[in-house]
Symmetry: C2
């Protein structure tokens, strides 16, 4: 049975409360399917939201910290962040404009993010980023050297205060609107990979690996 | 000629500065292609990042304000927000792990967001949300009544402090790595619509409109 994370005042889904989900299995599935997270942090009351690659390792997410890292140099206890991940699954075309919506799955994780110091942990995080995008790629590519590891800022956020919000399924219209002669339904959306484009400088004698030729998104 | 928005200390792209773009045409094209924005705001030093539908009207973006609206009730001058929009265009598989990247186009807009009061302006914003998703839908669907308009919180952020960041094109590897026998290239990504799914309660005598049957994303 999957563990439930008790929602806090800050992570409980209030609006459309039935869309809230608090079990690790649901939350981790969303995190693992997404490639980009949006990291929020604030300086002097001004929030900033930066998209960045990320990965999950156990009960923590790791993300590139270049944007926020200036703030972190002298803050050993970390900085308050919000890491949000959103997957868009479809347009919901209701009979009324008011009930138009999207199908989506999102995760909001709050807490203090800290800079990762240990090279082994950095490596593990980079491996998670890479393997999330393309399982198998880590072993094929040249792995990071010491200089590159030093140049990479990675932040870790433990997944302790986190919730998901999900809208799925059909249109929900007001009772009176079902009689309207308006087409209603859902247009699904999916982030779809195209065929791989070989780098011009990549010799044709190097075969296209299966993970690129038959690339499929994790579902 | 398109207007350039002078970057501030907060919107100038510092890391990979050549990826920064500051002209309204580039910025607005990204905003208009995306469906979801991530809105950041902070309370007591804790940032929150919430995904929401949005639309652009002229030199402002409008977005649903339910998440942030509690904070706004008594703040006539508005609250500091960051509205970020990200389009993911492809995986960049370099020969080294370190140079793996994504192709993407993002916009970061900073400023004070205010609640929209005037019903006409709310209507215009909702129209922008709807027409962004599906041009033509606004005229087909039942339009908002007074009660629905009152129940809808809409926020407006003027696009005065805003920049874009774009990564496109091929792999960029370190000179020494081009000799490695590692496949390198780009796997394009696109958010792709599937065929429309008619609502079970939508009578088959109502024809599927062309905008749903032949749905195409704005490019």
């Amino acid at each position: 049975m999957t563990e439930t994370i008790p929602p806090t005042e800050r992570t409980r889904v209030v609006r459309e409360a039935h869309r809230g989900a608090y079990d690790r299995e649901t939350i981790y599935k969303i995190l693992d399917e997404a490639y980009v997270c949006h990291v929020g942090f604030a300086t002097d009351g001004q929030p900033f939201v930066i998209p960045t690659l990320f990965g999950r390792v156990g009960d923590a997410v790791y993300f590139h910290g270049s944007a926020a890292s200036r703030m972190l140099r002298n803050v050993s206890e970390g900085i308050s962040v919000c890491v949000t991940v959103t997957l868009t699954d479809g347009f919901v075309l209701a009979r009324s404009v008011f009930n138009h919506s999207m199908n989506y799955r999102s995760v909001v994780a709050l807490g203090k993010a800290v800079l990762v110091d240990a090279p082994e942990e950095k490596l593990e995080a980079l491996r998670a980023f890479t393997e999330k995008i393309i399982p198998g790629r880590w072993n094929d590519a040249r792995q990071p050297n010491e200089k590159e590891l030093k140049a990479t800022s990675i932040l870790r956020l433990p997944l302790t205060e986190v919730s998901a919000k999900i809208r799925s399924g059909p249109v929900e219209d007001d009772a009176a609107d079902y009689a309207l002669p308006v087409w209603a339904g859902v247009i699904p959306l999916a982030l779809t990979p195209g065929g791989p484009i070989r780098d011009e400088k990549c010799d044709v004698s190097i075969p296209t690996p299966g993970y690129a030729a038959q690339y499929r998104r994790r579902a």
